[in-house]
Symmetry: C2
Subunit: 432 residues, 2 copies
């Protein structure tokens, strides 16, 4: 019996309490978290500065340092986020099916929390508050492990989060911070107590988790996103969408990594588009046909399956929309893929056949985000097919149970034919 | 590269075709399956007789023999089932969210198939047709492995199923039958090609699958179902529900295994109820308090976590509804649990706090079934929290994708403030 078993047991107890708490009480916890964060601002900034100093000394790269920073602007965003989340409708207790099975026997499908979540997130400390608040709003308890560079900041943030939870009369163990890799290893063994693991990280990390736990995993794996420019695309729209998808922010999972262009439009479009991309500093790797149109380095097979997260783009010319779809389904990561075309039928085919969580028509892949979708925030972007898909907000953190209300109904009466199934939809909310 | 890799690749191709097929075409396949089964009735019965003969010679137990039998009555049920399933609404292409993100940019969440399923089912051969038809109706391809006792029957049934699929112009590889355990082992490795494994079997089997695959598993584990008789239960209702839950069919996952009774009502109710149960041949194992009221064998700690699937029942007396809920959440399998009470508030508390897929008030646990719920049929009863929960019908075999329709929208415009998020619900179906 290790510490993690005790922590998980406490989390489970906290979940039972949280899942029965009213929406008012759960929202009260979010608003109290906001107040705690506000009143501990100086302390938060001090702790963050200590993390930043240490990270700088140890030579952390500049983009990672900027993700680690938690200053007044981040604090304001986090506090605003908590207020917005508190204002969102309650995701729990929603009746999503109501049906009379036979006279006097009513079946309801009602949303409820998942239970205990194990969440492993990266160095960005504001993610702690975002994820913890989504968990509490949806009635789930969570064990959370952040990046070690942000340890002091995370401890200070977690203290405010737990302070808010306790102020609302809810259990402190609703959110617990883990601090070591050993904790994570032990957590993966608690399949009787933990219902879901959400690892935020690269493919290898997600696979490590899957290989070492029976607990279901909602993985946020690589984002190998594509833009496909169809033969009758509007050239200006094509350039806008491709440029934004690649360069608006290169270090995020919903940035484009591979550009596919129909061979009919490539000769006229590609030189212009390549010039615009290069103006932004993008290095282009092309297939043979691309290199017959513009001067660039050669792309290899490996490029089609690489998430650069950098100012690098692989380009391939395809003879048909069929080839574009096949390329995406084969090499992509089922995250987000866009088509640029003026033809609705061809757009429809692309949206139907591309096997990804997000399929876009004439829009940048950068829109794949829980806040953008109106979910308040997200715990990650799921690239699997099971449970939640795409940006996971409150709905992704709920499941449902079937409530059956009878008056002594038994199956023997149905089998004997004394009663018949009616299966009439009731269109009403579950009364309890 | 083994055979299973080729089969899985073919299944994936079949899925891409199936997922784009119209509802009419998918229903056509179901009706053609029914016609194929009807016209091959004699052959099916002959093959089944060969399986039965061999099973009898090898000494298969009588209940298993009866599950293996596929005669005219089963055939009629299966054919009727196919017609009912064809008549159900299409589970694909349903818009479940529609939202304007900003002017001219519309987000839709639309249901779609999961992809390629790996399904391992038990000796009952009619399950093959039920599962295959649910898969095809919901646009999924499936690799299916049945019990080895039913091999000849399964081959004959699969030939009819594939015949129906091909008659509708859909790919033969939509449904493929696996025949060996080695096939199953190899299937578990194809996590790039297979999206979901559904093992129907006991806890140990489901755990074996989870320990040996990265593919998500929707497990149908043990059914340790409870009936809790509250202090103010109507005695007659209590006896009806308990008797039906235990004895209507003892060998199924939704039968009651443990009876919990409030200590206030146990002295008056238990002797009567025990007599009725014993009339039906039920052997009772009780805790100490139970044994102070009725004469019976002693239940041990192990009994609370045993799925008897037999005429055996463990009985425990509890001092409060809180203890009943705690017992169920600790020892149960999160399948289906019922309370008998006249008090709505106490029923509400039980339905809220019991952490199971089915929570029933004054109704037998035996109602937990996809056909009973009006889902047409089921591929299994999921006892986990992720994706589908409880009886898994067509909805459980679907996921969704986000379709975003724009006119060259880019994120840079949102970040610059040139455009604002509107997040207005559109309440309309996705036009493509």
């Amino acid at each position: 019996m290790n510490d993690l078993h005790v922590l998980s047991t406490n989390a489970r107890e906290a979940y039972y309490t949280l899942s029965s708490a009213s929406a008012g009480q759960r929202n009260h916890a979010l608003l109290s978290m906001a107040a705690e964060l506000d009143s501990h601002a100086d302390q938060l900034f001090q702790e963050n500065q200590l993390d930043l100093d240490e990270a700088e000394q140890s030579g952390l790269a500049t983009p990672l340092l900027s993700r680690l920073r938690f200053g007044p602007e981040k604090l304001k965003q986090v506090i605003d986020g908590l207020h917005s989340l508190a204002a969102l409708p309650d995701p729990l207790g929603k009746t999503t099916l109501s049906r009379e099975l036979t006279e006097g026997l009513a079946l309801y499908r009602v949303t409820c929390p998942i239970g205990v979540l194990g969440i492993i997130f990266e160095s960005r400390p504001d993610a702690l508050v975002q994820i913890a608040s989504l968990a509490v709003k949806s009635g789930n308890a969570a064990l959370m492990k952040g990046g070690k560079e942000a340890l002091r900041t995370n401890r200070a943030l977690a203290a405010c989060v737990v302070g808010g939870i306790v102020a609302a009369g809810l259990p402190a163990a609703s959110i617990q911070l883990l601090e070591s890799r050993e904790d994570v290893r032990n957590m993966l063994r608690e399949d009787e107590l933990i219902d879901l693991i959400i690892p935020r990280g690269g493919n290898d990390f997600v696979r490590y988790i899957m290989d070492n736990s029976r607990i279901p995993v909602l993985g946020h794996a690589d984002g190998i996103c594509h833009v496909y420019i169809d033969r009758d695309a509007d050239p200006e729209t094509a350039c806008r969408v491709a440029l934004d998808s690649k360069t608006q922010n290169v270090s995020v999972c919903n940035a484009m990594e591979t550009l596919l262009i129909h061979s009919d439009i490539a000769p006229s479009l590609l030189p212009k588009l390549a010039a615009k991309l290069r103006e932004k500093g993008v290095r282009i790797l092309g297939d043979e046909q691309t290199r017959s149109i513009i001067d660039c380095e050669a792309a290899t097979e490996k490029d089609w399956e690489t998430e650069y997260l950098d100012l690098v783009l692989s380009v391939r010319i395809v003879p048909s929309i069929t080839d574009a779809i096949a390329h995406i389904n084969h090499y992509g990561s089922h995250h987000t893929d866009a088509i640029v075309t003026r033809d609705q039928d061809r757009a429809s085919r692309f949206l139907q056949q591309v096997d990804s969580a997000g399929v876009y028509w004439n829009a940048s892949t950068r829109f794949a985000d829980g806040y953008v979708y109106g979910f308040g925030a997200e715990v990650g972007i799921a690239t699997g097919k099971i449970h939640a898909r795409g940006p996971m907000g409150l709905d992704g953190l709920t499941t449902y149970k079937y409530k059956l209300l009878g008056a002594g109904h038994i199956l023997a009466e149905m089998k004997s034919g004394d009663r018949k199934y009616t299966h009439v939809d009731l269109n009403r909310n579950c009364p309890l």
